[in-house]
Assembly symmetry: C2
Homo-oligomer: 137 residues x 2
C-alpha cells in the first residue's frame, strides 16, 4: 500500500489522494486533515446535507465505525481547474460483496488556502441500476 499522503497538500490531486486513502483505511485522523476548517459541505449518498467541519468529520467517524475497510477504485472523469478552486468529478467503484459493486459519482471541491489545498465539498450519490431508475429531474 502506498504511504499515506500527509498535509500540506501542494495540489488538489494530493488532497484527493489523501481523502481516498483516509476513506480506504477508515482513518478519522487522516480524514480530519483533508478538510478545510470552514463551512464545508458533505453529502453522503442518499443522506441529507451535512454542514460544517465538526459535523462532517463526525459523519466520517461514524461511517468508519460501522463498516469494514472498503475496497474503492477511483476514476477521475473530469477536472475543472482554476487558481483558487478545483472541482473533480470522480467515479467511485465500491466493492459491496463477492463480485458485486456499487457505482458512486462524486463531486469533490478543493480550495487553495495559505496552508495548501483542502477539501471544501464532497457530494456523493449512488448510480442506480437501470431497472431502479426514475425520472425526477
Amino acid at each position: 500500500m502506498a504511504h499515506p499522503v500527509e498535509p500540506p497538500f501542494l495540489t488538489a490531486e494530493q488532497a484527493e489522494q489523501a481523502f481516498y486513502s483516509a476513506f480506504r483505511r477508515c482513518d478519522s485522523r487522516a480524514m480530519a486533515s483533508v478538510w478545510a476548517d470552514d463551512d464545508v459541505i458533505c453529502i453522503h449518498p442518499g443522506s441529507p446535507v451535512i454542514v460544517g467541519y465538526d459535523a462532517v468529520i463526525r459523519s466520517w467517524t461514524n461511517i468508519f465505525a460501522n463498516d469494514g475497510l472498503p475496497e474503492i477504485q477511483i476514476n477521475l472523469l473530469e477536472s475543472t481547474t482554476t487558481q483558487q478552486l478545483i472541482v473533480h468529478t470522480v467515479e467511485e467503484v465500491i466493492a459491496t460483496g463477492d463480485d458485486t459493486f456499487a457505482s458512486v459519482l462524486a463531486t469533490n471541491v478543493y480550495r487553495k488556502y495559505a496552508e495548501g489545498w483542502l477539501m471544501v465539498k464532497h457530494h456523493g450519490s449512488l448510480v442506480k441500476a437501470p431497472s431502479e431508475s426514475h425520472t425526477i429531474q
Copy 2:
C-alpha cells in the same frame, strides 16, 4: 411569473436563476443558453454521468419531453465563491403529487467566461426517506 433571465449572466446567481427558470418552464432553448459549450458535466439523480454540452442539453430536452411542468422550490444552502469559479449547494424541493415532495440536493458549478457566468456542472441526487437510507460511504 418573473421575466426569464437572458444571457449574458453577470453573476453566478443570474445563471442559476436562468437554470431553474428553464427547468420550471421545460424550456430547452433557455436551458441551452445556461451551459458553457465545453466538457460540462451533468448528473441527474440516480443516473450515470453525462459529459459534454450536446449530450447534456439532449438529456434536459428528453426530461422536458417526458414530464409536466415541475413545481420546484429552491433553497441555496451554501456558496463557495472565487473570482473565476463558484460552487452552490442547493436544496430542490420538487412537488411529486398532492402534498408529496421529493428532496433533491444539487451541487451547481458556474464558471466566468468572457461572455459571462455559465454553468459547467450540475450534480443532483435524491435524499432518501430515513427508512430507505443505506450505509454505503
